[in-house]
Amino acid sequence: MNLNSNILVKLNNVGYRENNKWLVEDVSLQVEKGKIVTLIGPNGSGKSTTAKIALGIYKNIEGNVEKYTDKVGYVPQKISIDWTLPLRVNDFMVLTENIKHDQIDEALSLTGVIHLKNKNLGNLSGGEFQRVLLARAISKKPDLLVLDEPVQGVDYTGEIALYELIKKISDTLNCGILLISHDLHTVMKATDHVVCLNGHVCCSGSPIDVARNNEYKTLFGDQASQILSVYEHKHDHEHSHEGEIKKN
């Protein structure tokens, strides 16, 4: 029984081993409704592995996963789609669930790619494809969103807008989000709880706690902890797709 009904997924001391090498070991964390948990860590620190354990993609794991929802949206870090498949954005949006047209349009508009609806998936740029992946994951209005580097390849202003969107989604849908980023600095504002990984949980807490943590500093260098101020300023305008400048 799920006594605390706000918990969506809970990892209890999980670990995963491949070819006799531990990819992650002894990780515990939980994602609750309306909260954003961010996994950070250097390359190869087991962020994606942890996400896949939470999603149930890896089966032979140490420890256990308690999952309290089946409505999951996933943006994987790497996705290789075989172009022997003729697939338009529109077809991709209904890949795992049949959702209504207006829901598809709404999600594509939110991530700014509604104009690509009938384009072939193979013809998109990296950033455009990333926005489609995010739109697909949010369009089904999931309880749990797992976003593995969701803004890779997206331009800088787009990156900020998408993180703001992610924050908004977590607030409006009241869904829990497990977010993976290699960079604490870009996700600072959006996140409630940060877990810093390096094969194991190296430190965790609020973003500011983690940024001040000594283990975090040794892992990412002194520069990393100087980011605290960076994110405080606001943009007073944004650029639309046609290149016009819109004042906020």
């Binding site: 993609i57 996933y74 003729p86 077809d91 991709f92």
Partner: protein
């Protein structure tokens, strides 16, 4: 106008094309051409067993091909051999065992050419029932597993993460492949069944921009191939299987013209 056997062959052939169309698309998308070959080679073993124990051929082929397919899935998990080596191993060993068994069955006269290349004269009313009944069952099951099968074809981890159970869909699809081989073996012959799965679907890929369109064109292409093939088989007294496959090749070549045009448009 036409002889009864020809009408029967047409009805049976169209039934086969309705099923091989959608399944053929998955064979192409999931890169299963050699898997299809392996299953159809193993069908010879199924046929000889059917003769030995006086069983229904389609049923016997279905059971043996499914068994071979499940053995393959197990071998893939348990050994370190590459997939194509395992496919070759199973294809040729089951073919060899089938031929050895034929050697023992000296009391039965086999129409080897008919088995290998199909024989429209051999299609009975009973076969039509098997093709249409079995075909309808295959299409219904395919419709039921379409979502997980298609999603995992696009990306396995997405399907698994979002709770679609792709492993189960894969096993069911494997059994559907055995079933389609079992019902089409009399029409097309065991050497050319994979051609019937792949060539109309390949033609359809050239002229489609969405999965649904590809399935539709693949079915239409298959039906056209059957009709063209059977008429030419009647006209030139050629085996039905090769005639149908040659007709589908002709359609594939036509579809290349469309590709050439769209490449020119892009430039």
């Amino acid at each position: 106008m036409f002889d009864d056997f020809f009408i029967r062959a047409l009805i049976a052939g169209i039934g086969v094309a309705l099923v091989t169309g959608p399944l053929g698309c998955f064979v192409i998308w999931r890169r299963l051409s050699y898997f299809g070959d392996t299953l159809s080679h193993s069908a010879l073993l199924g046929i000889t067993i059917a003769y030995s124990f006086e069983l229904n051929i389609a049923l016997s082929v279905f059971v043996i091909s499914s068994l071979i397919a499940l053995i393959l899935i197990q071998l893939q998990k348990k050994t370190n051999l590459p997939g194509d080596a395992l496919l070759g191993l199973l294809a040729h060993s089951s073919l060899a065992v089938g031929l050895v068994v034929i050697g023992f069955l000296t009391f039965i006269r086999f129409d080897i050419m008919g088995l290998l290349f199909g024989d429209i004269l051999a299609v009975t009313t009973n076969d039509i029932f098997i093709i249409w009944g079995g075909g309808a069952a295959i299409l219904i099951v395919l419709k039921l597993i379409w979502k997980p099968l298609f999603a995992s074809t696009v990306n396995y981890e997405l399907a698994e993460a979002e709770g679609l159970n792709p492993d189960r869909a894969k096993v069911i699809f494997t059994i559907l492949m055995s079933a389609v081989i079992a019902i089409s073996i009399k029409m097309v012959g065991l050497l050319l069944i994979t051609g019937m799965l792949i060539i109309p679907a390949a033609m359809a890929r050239n002229i489609s921009d969405s999965p649904q369109k590809m399935v539709l064109f693949s079915v239409i292409g298959g039906i056209l191939s059957v009709v063209l093939g059977l008429f030419s088989s009647l006209e030139f007294n050629s085996s039905s299987g090769p005639s149908i496959i040659a007709a589908s090749l002709f359609l594939f070549i036509l579809s290349l013209i469309k590709i050439k045009q769209s490449i020119q448009l892009k430039n």
